[in-house]
């Protein structure tokens, strides 16, 4: 027979940590993508993070994936590091999943639209203009 005491208390914190981390990773992917499109120098900087990935550089018919590798690297780094930090912080926390579900879905939707150039380009160019990046 099962008693309630046999069921260890479980916390929603680790689940929020895991999903917030991937939201931040997708956000990093979006920001690094738009930064790399602004100037050749910025693209080079983003690209430099991805040189460890096979096929990150090269030319000819076989091609290369270019600065896409740098964007992936930055996103993976943010994903794993932030996951670890949030997990340690919220291991024993019960956070409202009702509120988080809404924030998570809206956040994902906003980031997804951020990859849709007809919508994101005017915003990116406006911000770049403010910062004086050409």
């Amino acid at each position: 027979m099962q008693h309630d005491t046999e069921n260890p208390k479980i916390y929603s914190g680790p689940l929020v940590a895991a999903t917030l981390a991937l939201l931040l990773a997708f956000f990093t992917l979006m920001v690094s993508h738009h930064i790399s499109r602004l100037t050749k120098e910025l693209d080079k900087i983003i690209h430099s993070y991805g040189h460890w990935i096979p096929g990150s550089t090269g030319s000819g018919p076989d091609g290369s994936i270019g600065s896409y590798t740098g964007k992936e690297t930055l996103a993976i780094a943010v994903w794993l590091v932030s996951w670890l930090i949030f997990h340690c912080l919220w291991r024993r926390q019960d956070l409202s999943l009702k509120v988080w579900t809404r924030l998570f879905v809206v956040g994902l939707l906003a980031i997804t639209l951020g990859f849709f150039h007809p919508i994101s380009d005017p915003i990116v160019l406006f911000i770049a203009d403010l910062l004086g990046i050409y």
Partner: protein, 192 residues
């Protein structure tokens, strides 16, 4: 009028399973044909196509497993964990092979050059969207996998956690479909 649960008999199950087997085989022929396409990149294209379509199939099946989770019903936990693990591996294979074939897409006189010359918006809007949206399902499945292992069976005592897991599976599927359809359109325009 009695409204008990409808259960398929053995014949009904056999019909459904046969239909699924035929449909899956035919669907797999679509990307498997890439292996026989006369280019130097048929192996890369075939592997990416097959892993992508398998990820879509498993991801689609998982949307059916997500509904009981969202409704707060008890689920067959071990089986769900196995399917989510399979989906995670397939999504990783799809992303890695996607990186691999993307090199040729960007290569000299590759699909990107052709598309930019003829229908530039398909690269500038669709591909620039697809290359990132296709990366989303894998980490989403990793998060789902993590939840299933971290909480174990006790997860079913927390309806909100099970519900969030179900929603994560549905979201992962929607990104899979976005990436898959965009990929099909690009491959239709210009094959590697």
């Amino acid at each position: 009028m009695p409204t008990g649960e409808y259960r398929h008999d053995h014949f009904g199950k056999a019909v459904i399973r046969t239909q699924i087997a035929i449909a899956l085989s035919l669907l797999l022929l679509l990307p498997a044909a890439n292996f026989f396409y006369p280019t130097a990149y048929n192996l890369k294209a075939g592997i990416h196509g097959v892993s992508a379509i398998l990820a879509v199939i498993v991801g689609t099946y998982l949307t059916h497993r997500a509904i009981p989770l969202i409704k707060g019903m008890q689920v067959r936990f071990e089986s769900l964990r196995l399917w989510v693990m399979t989906a995670t591996v397939l999504n990783l294979a799809g992303a890695v092979s996607g990186n691999w074939i993307y090199m040729r897409y960007r290569g000299q006189e590759g699909p990107r050059d052709w598309i930019l010359a003829h229908v530039p918006s398909f690269h500038n809007v669709l591909m620039e969207f697809k290359e990132f949206a296709s990366l989303f399902p894998f980490p989403l499945m990793v998060a789902a996998c993590f939840a299933l292992f971290y909480y174990g069976k006790s997860m079913q005592y927390r309806r909100d956690i099970a519900r969030f897991l179900g929603i994560t599976l549905l979201i992962s599927w929607s990104f899979l479909m976005l990436g898959f359809v965009a990929g099909l359109v690009l491959a239709k325009l210009r094959f590697v």
